[in-house]
């Protein structure tokens, strides 16, 4: 048997039965497009999340937040808890060994940041001199905060590259006076570029002022919403987290039957959160699209069965001319897999274009997970073969005499 000729003739047959071919391809296209969109996006989200979290949260970090954290979303719930103080963190630093540094966290709602006649609305973050190391983010121009800035409630600010670009265009922002709301600040440095964080916040839109200045001059509060701790020995992180918890409980005078009024996030907790989100991204969503793919397979079965009934005399003829049942079987399996392979490639193209448009419009980087390509080609071929088996067997078992009479 000349397999090459059978394969090329199957292309011809498909081309000459355009309507059938169209519907068979369509089913697979939809399935694969949906699958590749959800899978690529899921993988993209997973990759981004993992990278960003790694950036933000290394194995020797502990995050304390006031109030309880919703594990499912990975976001701290909007809480009005106001009892986490910088003094709490300082007490932890004194009482628990093995913590090298910390950075308290406080942030305003959006405020106007003004230079000349330009105006940007963005949240203002509180920072400290140690924050440079704790957040692993330095400045590319000017200087970082000093301890003296913290102590003196200095009105100095570090700004992200996008803020710099928007307010100062190409001129040098260092030393310039800006206003945050009504309060004047001097630009002390421009922060390193960081892109978008897992929550979708553009870190290059950050404005950071000393946390002491932020709390007293911009917010007039005496509490913080969290703190990031840096542990010396990563293998001790979980143990230290337990000690941190008991110090905080004691300072907040919580009884044994009261739950924490704060949350402690450790690498183990982060891993759990990421794992949960990744399951949604790369298992659950593609599973739903997989159903679309199965429907595509069923469409192939139905149309191929119709096609076999319509081509009874062709099949009989081929047998009379010397085709063995397995040759007939081969032909129909090739037709089914060619159709679904074409559908797969087309679906992949549509799916990846869709993913690209989606990610591009959100300013995210596009990448193609190799699994998408593999599944986009492999799944359809498998589906084609599986869907082709019933019609192909029916064709192969056909009696040539009946078919020819």
């Amino acid at each position: 048997m000349n397999k090459y000729k059978i394969i090329t003739s199957s292309f011809r047959i498909l081309r000459r039965n355009k309507l059938n071919t169209f519907f068979m391809i369509l089913g697979i296209v939809i399935g694969i497009a949906a699958l590749s969109i959800t899978f690529s996006m899921g993988k993209g989200a997973e990759k981004q999340l993992t990278e960003k979290v790694k950036n933000l949260f290394s194995p020797n970090n502990i995050l304390i937040t006031s109030g309880r954290v919703e594990l499912e979303s990975g976001r701290s719930s909007e809480s009005s808890v106001t009892n986490l103080k910088i003094e709490d963190i300082e007490a932890i630093m004194n009482e628990v060994h093995g913590i090298t540094m910390y950075a308290p966290i406080q942030v305003t709602p959006d405020r106007d940041v003004i230079f000349g006649n330009k105006n940007i609305s963005t949240a203002i973050n509180g920072g400290t001199a140690e924050g440079e190391l704790v957040w692993r983010r330095s400045v590319i121009a000017g200087e970082y905060f000093t301890k003296a800035d913290e102590k003196s409630l200095a009105r100095v600010a570090l700004i992200g590259t996008k803020i710099a670009k928007k307010l100062f265009e190409n001129s040098n922002p260092i030393g310039e006076q800006i206003r945050i709301g009504a309060v004047p600040f001097t630009v002390k440095g421009v922060l390193e570029e960081k892109g978008i964080d897992p929550h979708g916040t553009d870190l290059d839109m950050n404005v950071i002022v000393p946390i002491t200045t932020l709390m007293s001059r911009l917010m007039n509060v005496n509490y913080i919403i969290g703190a990031k701790l840096e542990v010396e020995d990563a293998s001790q992180t979980e143990d230290i987290a337990i000690k941190v918890t008991s110090v905080l409980r004691e300072r907040h005078s919580l009884n044994n039957n009261e739950t924490n009024d704060f949350s402690i996030v450790t690498p183990v907790v982060v891993k759990e959160i990421i794992g949960k989100m990744n399951r949604v991204f790369t298992l659950f969503l593609p599973l739903i699209s997989g159903i679309a793919l199965v429907v595509g397979g069923v469409v192939i079965v139905v149309i191929m069965l119709m096609s076999v009934s319509r081509r009874v005399s062709e099949i009989g003829l081929r047998k009379a001319l010397g085709a063995r049942p397995k040759d007939i079987m081969f032909q129909f399996l090739v037709e089914a897999s060619v159709v679904s392979l074409l559908g797969g490639i087309l679906g992949l193209a549509i799916g990846l274009t869709g993913t690209w448009i989606f990610l591009f419009s959100r300013g995210l980087t596009f990448f193609i997970p190799w699994q998408t390509i593999l599944f986009g080609v492999l799944f359809p071929v498998i589906i084609g073969i599986v869907a082709g088996i019933i019609p192909a067997r029916k064709a192969a078992q056909m009696d040539p005499i009946e078919a020819l009479s």
Binding site: K5, R16, G322
Partner: protein, 241 residues
């Protein structure tokens, strides 16, 4: 080269109503013969052809092709023999729709291990006088041309035997004569031809006529002076002009 010994073919289940489509038929056909099988409708001609062509197995009896008993062979082996040794021509042409003449002729070669299938197909079309129609789709050809394409398909793999089940049945008399003319030419070049027909006039172009009635062979005779289809066609041309 072909020998049937006491071949019977019974349709219908045991106990139910049974039809003896072939009843103890015995027959020997030598290499290079042109045999016409005639008989009334339902006499068993197509059944005979299906058994000769190994599309069907007899209920009883023996079938020798080149001294080899074939009824014990597997389906795959029979398919292989059909491909190599037998060319079929059917009443309804059975060409693939929306497909060119050349692709149709190439079809048996796909199931063989022969190379240069394309060239062979063009050559075969030349033998039936259709070289200039090779790229035409079959639905663009006349009935007579379509049947000649079918003959080209039957001979492309150089079989020993060409079996025709009423190949002229769907054609007007002129196209029918053309088809018979091609068969006569193939016979002169050494092929064994078995032609099933209703028409005793068509049968007179063969060297030998076998008559079937109710599944039995009732007559088997040599034709002393077979008609020459080419000559008749030339005659027709003359009277028309």
């Amino acid at each position: 080269m072909i020998q049937l010994k006491n071949i019977s073919k019974i349709y219908g289940k045991d106990g139910g109503q049974q039809i003896k489509a072939l009843d103890n038929a015995s027959l020997t056909i030598d290499k290079g013969e042109f045999v016409a099988i005639i008989g009334a409708s339902g006499s068993g001609k197509s059944t005979m052809m299906n058994i000769l062509g190994m599309l069907d197995r007899p209920t009883s009896g023996e079938y020798y092709l080149e001294n080899k008993e074939v009824s014990t062979l597997t389906d795959d082996e029979l398919a292989h023999i059909r491909n190599k040794k037998i060319g079929f021509v059917f009443q309804k042409f059975h060409l693939l729709p929306k497909t060119t003449a050349e692709e149709n002729v190439e079809l048996p070669l796909i199931y063989s291990d022969r190379k240069n299938t394309h060239t062979l197909a063009i050559e075969a079309l030349g033998k039936v006088g259709l070289s200039n129609r090779s790229k035409h789709r079959t639905n663009e050809l006349s009935g007579g041309q379509q049947q000649r394409v079918a003959i080209a398909r039957a001979l492309v793999n150089e079989p020993e035997v060409i079996l025709g089940d009423e190949p002229t049945g769907n054609l007007d008399s002129k196209s029918g004569l053309e088809v018979v003319g091609v068969l006569q030419e193939l016979n002169r070049s050494g092929k064994t031809i078995i032609l099933i027909t209703h028409s005793s006039e068509i049968a007179e172009h063969a060297n030998r006529v076998i008559r079937i009635h109710d599944g039995k062979i009732t007559e088997d005779y040599k034709v002393e002076q077979p008609l020459d289809a080419r000559a008749e066609l030339a005659e027709l041309e003359k009277t028309n002009n």
